[in-house]
């Protein structure tokens, strides 16, 4: 009997100690060690800047590598020196010269020169390499034909290095925003000596990005890479601006379930989440206002029309469908993230005035549909292709309901998993489809180029020669203001034919711990980690 009593006492003691042992929040030990812990959605495809294509990968690559220019931590549109300490262009923004800093080096101490940049551009444009995002460099003269294999000689491409620390770039169009382009990872330098150690210039999938081999020029170096577990980058002692860097390291966690991520944040395990589910946005807004960040994010959410479809060929039908979408209701009741209703494709800025093409006008919508021959017994029947993501489900159900309510239309939802959805959209095997686009750089062309005939991202079957003429004209226009006016004209033309229904402009909603300093809203959400700091704060 007494043995049993003893065991019970022991168990009770253990249980009590489990509950009573109130340790410090897990995040505090990381904060005091100045290690930033970030939720980063899913395991990255890879870390080679010339192979990957996603935002997730760019978040990590941005810590490891540095481009010619660097994003200012708080001021939109200001370009800070990165690998280049100065730059200038000619009058019509077609020729740029970048002065590389003489103390620029790779994390293994080797000097970073213009030759590395030439090598990098050659690799990403190499026809055998097959870089998915090579088109980001097509602005460079001769780049596209080299990439497509039409020309064999890289010297025909408009990049040159008159001396080891000068880089000259010749563009085929007037690009005033080239410094912005250089902040994109496709324009980053990669270490020629390391790449060639593990393979040839056009060989993919070599182990050069492994922690034991990789060498980079950014504020951090890759230390640990446990697949599906975490990626850890540590401060680069050979970074030219290492005194500005306050963090000791960054931990990236691939947390795919956003509810798990929110739970981890509230359980004090993360400094920042990647995103936030709509109902969690509301929850945070009501209870944890100090952690919630709601910032404009450069992107548009829209619905695609297959304009080659017999039912949707009629412009009036497309317009009717477009005018029956109540974006405000969707934002208020479903998205809850402070998004803006979109009346055009390109998110408006101070300089660019997006044409006001779409609004919520159910009466006019109904009239248009009648004019198109529907009404009474003849109902409009179409299908909407959607994905299995939670928000997509709710959006498509809401659209279905709105079209039924305002137009009496019978819309069936075809919910398909991701790859099937992509395949069907690319093959024009749909009538309506959910879609979206995040901008790669802060210029309207990132939202307009995709609608050119035959562009892989078009996926609507829409084609208009006049549109492309306008875009080509804008490309050659020196005056920035005149150029934007031309782009607005192009967009007006695009929207008048309604191959898409713009629904809303994105915001990014996420949770940020109060101990994070130097982290400010940026349109592309591309926070430069060299300016971030961590300070222990009271919870």
């Amino acid at each position: 009997m007494s043995h049993a009593h003893l065991i019970y006492l022991l168990l009770a003691g253990c249980a009590l100690s489990l509950v009573a042992c109130k340790g410090d929040p897990p995040i505090d030990s990381y904060t005091s060690k100045k290690i930033l812990v970030l939720g980063n959605s899913t395991e990255p495809q890879g870390l080679d800047p010339q192979i990957v294509t996603g935002v997730i990968e760019s978040n990590i690559i941005r810590a490891l590598f540095e481009g010619l220019c660097v994003e200012h931590p708080s001021k939109q549109g200001v370009h800070l020196p990165g690998a280049a300490e100065a730059w200038h262009s000619n009058d019509d923004f077609t020729e740029w010269t970048f002065q590389l800093r003489k103390n620029g080096q790779w994390s293994d101490g080797s000097p970073l020169t213009a030759q590395d940049f030439l090598f990098s551009y050659q690799r990403i444009l190499h026809p055998e390499f097959g870089a998915e995002y090579a088109s980001m460099l097509y602005y460079i003269q001769g780049a596209e034909s080299y990439n497509k294999g039409a020309t064999k000689d890289f010297s025909t491409v408009g990049v040159s290095a008159p001396d080891p620390y000068t880089l000259k770039i010749k563009l085929k169009a007037s690009i005033p925003f080239l410094p912005d382009l250089t902040k994109h990872y496709t324009w980053y330098p990669i270490p020629k000596h390391i790449i060639l150690k593990h393979g040839t210039i056009d060989q993919r999938n070599t182990p050069w990005t492994e922690p034991e081999h990789i060498v980079s020029n950014g504020p951090f170096v890759l230390k640990d890479w446990r697949l599906n577990d975490y990626i850890y980058a540590e401060k680069n002692p050979n970074y030219w601006d290492k005194d500005t860097v306050k963090l000791r390291g960054i931990r990236f966690l691939p947390i795919s379930n956003q509810y798990t991520e929110a739970r981890m944040f509230f359980n004090q395990q993360l400094h920042a989440t990647y995103g936030l589910a709509p109902e969690m946005i509301e929850h945070a807004s009501n209870n944890y206002q100090k952690y919630l960040r709601q910032e404009t994010y450069l992107g548009t959410n829209f619905i695609r029309f297959n304009v080659t479809d017999s039912t949707l060929k009629d412009l009036k039908v497309r317009q009717a469908l477009a005018l029956s979408i109540d974006s405000k209701a969707i934002i208020t009741h479903i998205l809850k993230g402070g998004q803006s209703p979109a009346y055009g494709m390109v998110p408006p800025t101070d300089d660019y005035h997006t044409p006001k093409a779409v609004s919520f006008d159910p009466i006019r919508a109904k009239k248009l549909l009648q004019q198109a021959g529907y009404g009474g017994d003849k109902k409009l029947r179409v299908s909407l292709l959607s994905t299995d993501k939670e928000v997509s489900k709710r959006l498509s159900e809401a659209y279905q309901d709105m079209w039924k309510k305002h137009l009496g239309a019978e819309v069936s939802i075809e919910q398909r998993e991701w790859k099937t959805y992509l395949a069907r959209m690319s093959g024009l095997d749909y009538q309506l489809a959910l879609g979206g686009w995040i901008g790669d750089y802060p210029d309207p062309t990132t939202f307009l180029d995709m609608w050119k005939t035959g562009d892989g991202n078009n996926r609507t079957g829409w084609s208009n020669k006049e549109y492309e003429t306008l875009l080509a004209k804008a490309e050659q226009t020196k005056d920035p203001s005149a150029r934007l006016r031309l782009l607005e004209q192009a967009e007006t033309l695009f929207l008048s034919e309604m191959p898409i229904i713009p629904v809303y402009w994105y915001t990014t909603n996420y949770l940020l711990h109060t101990s994070v300093k130097g982290w400010h809203p940026l349109l592309l959400n591309n926070h430069p980690y060299k300016f971030v700091d961590l300070e222990l704060t009271k919870h």
């Binding site: 208020t332 009741h333 479903i334 939670e390 159900e397 809401a398 279905q400 919910q415 998993e417 099937t420």
Partner: protein, 318 residues
């Protein structure tokens, strides 16, 4: 007089079924389960026909997350839809998936396993090796593939049926969408049934009444269908009863992965996976479907277990 009647009665033999019925009555859990299942059946299949239940798919974005009130007895969900309606209609779908998929799997498995067990020898060995292989296939790959292949054809079928019976369009669309699910789950779930059936046939084959039938010169088909299978009825019923909750659970998991019932229809799986997202904010959306779901599954499981206890001939000694 009475005493004599009683002793006469007790010396009469009891059939397996009346024995089983008496034993089930003693099993309070099984009886309670039957009552619960009956209630849920009525709620899900009969009550929705009454006008008091609103349209489960009708959204009202201004009325999201309402608490229970006189218009919505269980409140509304994230799109303003009535939760009670979604619960009942969803139950229809989940239970249908469970029952139909079970039927499919029992049908396939029974035939396959019986043949394997009856023929025996190398054929049996080969057939069961095939079952082993199928057991090792990643269930999800198969479900996705089946669903995709079948739903593409289901589209055409829906179009045909709707043009023939346009009044029944909603009904047709709703249930044609489920066919891929029925087939995918049922076609992949027959394996255990096959093993059960085979084991039964193997043991029954050795019994004297089968030997007698063989010596009488009856055809194999007749032996299998008239003599062996009726004796397997017990275990088959038990197994089927226990498979239904398993398949309902599978439907829930598939819905969570985005492969289940299509929008905007609801099923318990969808209600649960959506509700799980609101665990911290609007727990009602999770608690109510969870309780219904778990109660039903527990009831089915206890009923199955009770049936097994009741039909077990070895326990006849009690």
């Amino acid at each position: 007089m009475n005493k004599k009647n009683q002793s006469e009665q007790s010396s009469k033999g009891h059939s397996l079924w009346s024995d089983a019925w008496m034993r089930i009555k003693k099993n309070k859990m099984a009886v309670a389960s039957l009552v619960i299942l009956f209630t849920i059946g009525v709620l899900c299949f009969v009550v929705p026909m009454l006008p008091i239940i609103p349209d489960p798919n009708s959204q009202n974005l201004n009325n999201t997350f309402l608490s229970p009130n006189k218009n919505h007895w269980l409140g509304t969900d994230q799109s303003g839809r009535d939760l009670l309606a979604r619960l009942l209609y969803g139950g229809q779908i989940s239970l249908l998936v469970g029952i139909v998929a079970t039927t499919v799997s029992v049908f396939i498995g029974l035939i396959y396993g019986s043949i394997a067990g009856y023929i025996g020898g190398k054929t049996d060995g080969l057939m069961m090796r095939i079952v082993d292989i199928l057991y090792g296939l990643p269930f999800l790959v198969l479900v996705i593939l089946f669903s995709l292949l079948i739903s593409e054809h289901a589209q055409e079928l829906t179009g045909d049926l709707v043009s023939r019976w346009p009044n029944q369009e909603v009904f047709i669309k709703k249930f044609i969408n489920l066919v891929p699910l029925f087939i995918a789950i049922g076609a992949l779930g027959w394996l255990t049934m096959a093993r059960v059936a085979r084991a039964q046939v193997l043991s029954l084959k050795k019994q004297e009444f089968v030997e007698a039938a063989v010596s009488l010169g009856l055809s194999h088909r007749r032996i299998l269908m008239r003599h062996i299978m009726p004796n397997m009825l017990g275990p088959i019923i038990v197994y089927a009863t226990l498979t239904v909750p398993g398949f309902v659970l599978t439907e829930a998991t598939l819905s969570f992965l985005g492969l289940g019932v299509e929008s905007p229809n609801s099923s318990w799986g969808i209600l649960l996976s959506e509700g799980a997202n609101y665990m911290e904010t609007y727990p009602r959306l999770l608690i109510i479907p969870s309780i219904t779901f778990s109660l039903t599954l527990l009831a089915l499981n206890f009923l199955g277990d009770g049936l097994r206890d009741a039909l077990d001939p070895k326990a006849a000694k009690d």
